[in-house]
């Protein structure tokens, strides 16, 4: 066990846990942060993606020790009903999902993309989401939603 500190959705957090535990198990377990979803446990589907620093990573494959002193953003920190992120607004506007289980991870991959590339092309979006799996076939709506959010964010 070790005490590890990080910033979670802008708030200082400290947790006593096995440093080799996966970030996902810590988020979903003791921290009750259930937005990141378990899909495969092997960094193959993206359902658990969160942003660490500036990059979307699979929380299931991220050991707790590696996020010490880092900034972590989960879907819970992206926006809320009262203050939605443009991506969340756009996913609603485009009705860009069916079952929605993959969506929290996809939103985080998309948010990381827009941080580093505010004006992505459709191909950029597809490349950024290529490690996220969607089984319902909502891909094209999601790409449209990300482009809509980017356009909205670019409008002063």
């Amino acid at each position: 066990m070790a005490s590890i500190r990080f910033r979670l959705n802008g708030v200082e957090a400290e947790i006593d846990a096995d440093p080799d535990a996966s970030l996902l198990s810590i988020l979903r377990g003791p921290m009750r942060m259930t937005g990141p979803h378990f899909g495969c446990g092997a960094n193959e589907c993206g359902a658990c993606n969160v942003i660490v620093g500036d990059h979307a990573v699979a929380a299931c494959d991220t050991p707790l020790w590696s996020v010490a002193d880092k900034d972590i953003t989960t879907i819970e920190g992206l926006g809320s009903v009262e203050k939605p992120h443009p991506l969340q607004r756009a996913f609603i506007a485009e009705q860009a999902l069916q079952c929605g289980y993959c969506v929290s991870g996809i939103l985080m991959s998309a948010a990381a993309l827009l941080r580093r590339n505010p004006e992505p092309s459709s191909a950029d979006v597809r490349a950024a989401l290529d490690r996220n799996l969607c089984r319902c076939g909502s891909h094209n709506r999601m790409v449209r939603a990300v482009l809509r959010a980017a356009a909205e964010m670019a409008t002063p």
Binding site: Q88, I92, Q95, Q98, C99, G100, Y101, A123, H139
Partner: protein, 713 residues
């Protein structure tokens, strides 16, 4: 002897309502100004609760924001069987429309009494019933005076389509905000007070016996509550999810399993399917009164592999015992059916078991949702009344859940001297396409076969053609051929577990029929659109084909490396009409660039919801066609990761354009499975157009293309 003339179209209740006639089981008003609508169908990501809310709000004239959709539960929901077969709008939608129409009339009648004006003089706006001179009351005011504990009566008349303001419009789905804001809507994210975590130990080997399972290592894992063993079923219960995983890992390292059953040779699947013991059924037979003489007969064989449901979420369930009663939370597609099977396994009356639905990820048919519910029920017995949450691993989800059945399909066409089709024989070999729970005297749940007093493994069967058929779904041609014989040979052995996957056999049959027709048209030098239209008299069928052909400017000019192909079907021959043109490019690796689709679902309750379903179905079918095949060696399923069972990725997804042909006065038809067959065939036909190669064995990969080229040359 004379018979009384049948009364002309006596009004009948919709089928779901006839089975559950009590009005209050479907609809209640709350004094707070809400309408609680309680369907027996469940949300599986298809948007059904929104479509049903639209129907209710429309018929009652209330704002859709007042409609609260109740999750299905055996504690009180109408029993609508299983949410499958693209039937939810047809069954639940018609029932709710009828209930709301009748309840509206009941309230209008009462309001008329109270207000002293004729019903005709009353109007309803957002639940407020008003009449001349500013007199008014409302559903909520009158709710206490009206008992809906009465049976629905035939003859309630819903509004004409022209007076509907919500049905027919693309209302935003009610569940989407929760999902983009990560509110806890999924069963996976739910926690009950005092909840423990369970995991089940399963061998990779098929039907292996658990010979020895030393418990010492697992006992040493922090947080362990119980180790459960009953025959070949074993699992752990822990205070935490990580503890459960760790204890499971410890058990796995210690356990010894016997050899399992032998699996077929995956490279000789068609031969294997055709060599097994079967039950043969004549599906349909049509004899022409006068046929031209057969000049030659062409025979082709098509295959499709086993396909995985491959839900993004591993299956999950919660269970809690209280004495001899158990409560179960599940993402099963049929809460009552699951309850029946649980009762068989537990040897308890169904009244002792409550099964409640909670949303899971898209399942696309009978996946492990029901299996994990029994796992949770068994493990929760060791939890002293505390609730237990069980979640499968990705590997178990990809190897122990039922698969869509592999199929071998042979079609023979007899051609006359002019090359016209005068005879047609279609034969299917494969396992049955359904082994769902709740239908038989034995349970269909995996753990039931593992207990020390095991139930036999259920061999999957096929629903009758009258219910859409199983392996034979869409095997009867919609085309006007003068004669045909359709047969289905269902395997009576089942080394690889199969059950319902989206479309059942329709994807394979439509692939076969539409590929063969394309080949026959090409053999005559006839355009495939013209060829199909010449054999189709159903005007709605013709319309979707003509629409899609017009939209793509059929046929676009030939370009090197680009191909166009057409596929068409009416799902189940009674459901939605769908025609697809695929545009593909490539030589060794095929890329589907664009799918252009025309679809007719009759009345589209939520047009954008229909388009979403068609797009999703088209993309999923493209994934099946280009990538998917359950892999196995002679002992185990080997495709138990996303690496070994790849699905289509964002960069590989085609553009999808959907034209919805609106028919507001026709019965609404489901959209979830309409596109799979036509898309499959359209891609295969486009591959031929581009490369001159007929791929008859799915999936269409580099390997199958090379194999097809070699067999042609």
């Amino acid at each position: 002897m004379t018979r009384p003339a049948p009364s002309p179209s006596a009004p009948k209740l919709p089928v779901s309502l006839a089975a559950n006639p009590t009005l209050s089981s479907w609809l209640r008003f709350s004094p707070q100004g809400h309408v609680k609508v309680s369907p027996g169908k469940v949300e599986i990501g298809q948007g059904i609760v929104t479509a049903l809310a639209q129907i209710a709000a429309d018929e009652l004239d209330v704002d859709i924001g007042r409609v609260q959709m109740v999750r299905a539960s055996t504690a009180g929901s109408p029993n609508e069987g299983v949410t499958s077969g693209s039937l939810s709008v047809q069954q639940s939608g018609r029932a709710i429309r009828h209930v709301c129409a009748e309840v509206r009339q009941i309230f209008l009648g009462l309001a008329s009494d109270r207000l002293g004006v004729a019903i005709d003089a009353l109007a309803i706006e957002d639940g407020t019933i008003s009449g001349p001179g500013n007199i008014r009351t409302s559903y909520w005011e009158l709710a206490d005076e009206v008992s809906l504990e009465r049976d629905a009566t035939p003859g309630a008349v819903p509004k004409p389509s022209t007076q509907r303001t919500l049905a027919g419009h693309s209302i935003a789905r009610v569940d989407i905000p929760d999902k983009v804001f990560a509110h806890r809507r999924f069963i996976h994210d739910s926690a009950l007070p005092g909840m423990l975590h369970g995991r089940v130990l399963r061998s990779e080997l098929t039907a292996a016996r658990l010979v020895d399972m030393p418990k010492d290592r697992a006992r040493a894992v922090h947080g362990l509550v119980a180790i459960v063993r009953d025959g070949n079923f074993a699992g752990v219960v822990s205070q935490t999810e990580e503890g459960a995983e760790a204890a499971l890992g410890a058990l796995r390292r210690s356990a010894t399993w016997s050899a399992g059953e032998t699996l077929p040779d995956e490279d000789r699947l068609a031969e294997w399917l055709k060599a097994q013991p079967v039950e043969s059924t004549l599906i349909d037979n049509r004899m022409a009164s006068q046929t031209s003489e057969t000049q030659r007969t062409i025979r082709r064989q098509y295959t499709r592999p086993y396909l995985a449901h491959a839900s993004i979420a591993p299956s999950c369930a919660l269970a809690q015992w209280s004495g001899e009663r158990v409560r179960v939370w599940t993402h099963s597609q049929g809460v009552y059916f699951l309850r029946s099977d649980l009762a068989l396994v537990l040897k308890l009356p169904v009244e002792n078991i409550t099964v409640e639905h909670m949303e899971g990820a898209g399942c696309y048919g009978h996946n492990a949702a029901d299996d994990v519910a029994l796992d949770a029920v068994i493990l929760a017995k060791a939890a002293s009344g505390r609730p237990v949450r069980v979640q499968w691993s990705r590997a178990d989800e990809m190897s122990h859940a039922p698969f869509g059945a592999a199929m071998a399909i042979e079609i023979e066409a007899d051609l006359d001297a002019q090359g016209e089709i005068v005879g047609w024989r279609h034969s299917i070999w494969g396992n049955g396409h359904t082994a769902r729970p709740g239908r038989a005297a034995q349970p269909a749940l995996l753990a039931a076969t593992e207990l020390s007093n095991p139930f036999p493994r259920m061999i999957s069967t096929n629903p009758p053609q009258a219910n859409g058929g199983g392996a034979d779904r869409n095997s009867i041609p919609l085309y006007d051929f003068p004669s045909w014989t359709i047969e289905s040979h269902r395997l009576t052995t089942m080394p690889i577990r199969t059950s319902a996957l989206r479309t059942l056999g329709a994807q394979g049959n439509v692939f076969a029929i539409e590929s063969f027709l394309d080949e026959l048209a090409a053999g005559r030098g006839e355009d495939p659109v013209a060829f199909r239209l010449r054999h189709l008299s159903d005007s709605r069928a013709r319309d979707v084909i003509k629409s899609v052909a017009k939209r793509v400017g059929w046929k676009p000019d030939q370009q090197a490396g680009i191909g166009y192909g057409l596929g068409f079907a009416r799902y189940k021959n009674t459901g939605a009409y769908c025609a697809v043109v695929a545009e593909i490019e490539g030589a060794e690796d095929i890329r589907v660039k664009r799918l252009t689709i025309a679809v007719d679902v009759g009345e589209a309750i939520n047009p954008d919801g229909v388009v979403n379903q068609i797009e999703g179905g088209a993309i999923q079918a493209t994934s099946w066609v280009l990538k998917e095949r359950v892999r196995f060696d002679r002992q185990r399923i080997t495709s138990n990761t996303w690496t070994d069972y790849p699905i289509l990725r964002f960069s590989e997804v085609p553009e999808v354009e959907v034209e919805l042909i609106q028919r507001p006065d026709s019965e609404p038809l489901g959209a979830g499975e309409a596109a799979h067959g036509p898309v499959t065939a359209a891609i295969a036909n486009a591959v031929f157009d581009a490369l001159g190669v007929r791929v008859r064995n799915l999936p269409i990969t580099r390997d199958s293309l090379i194999a097809a080229m070699e067999s042609t040359s």
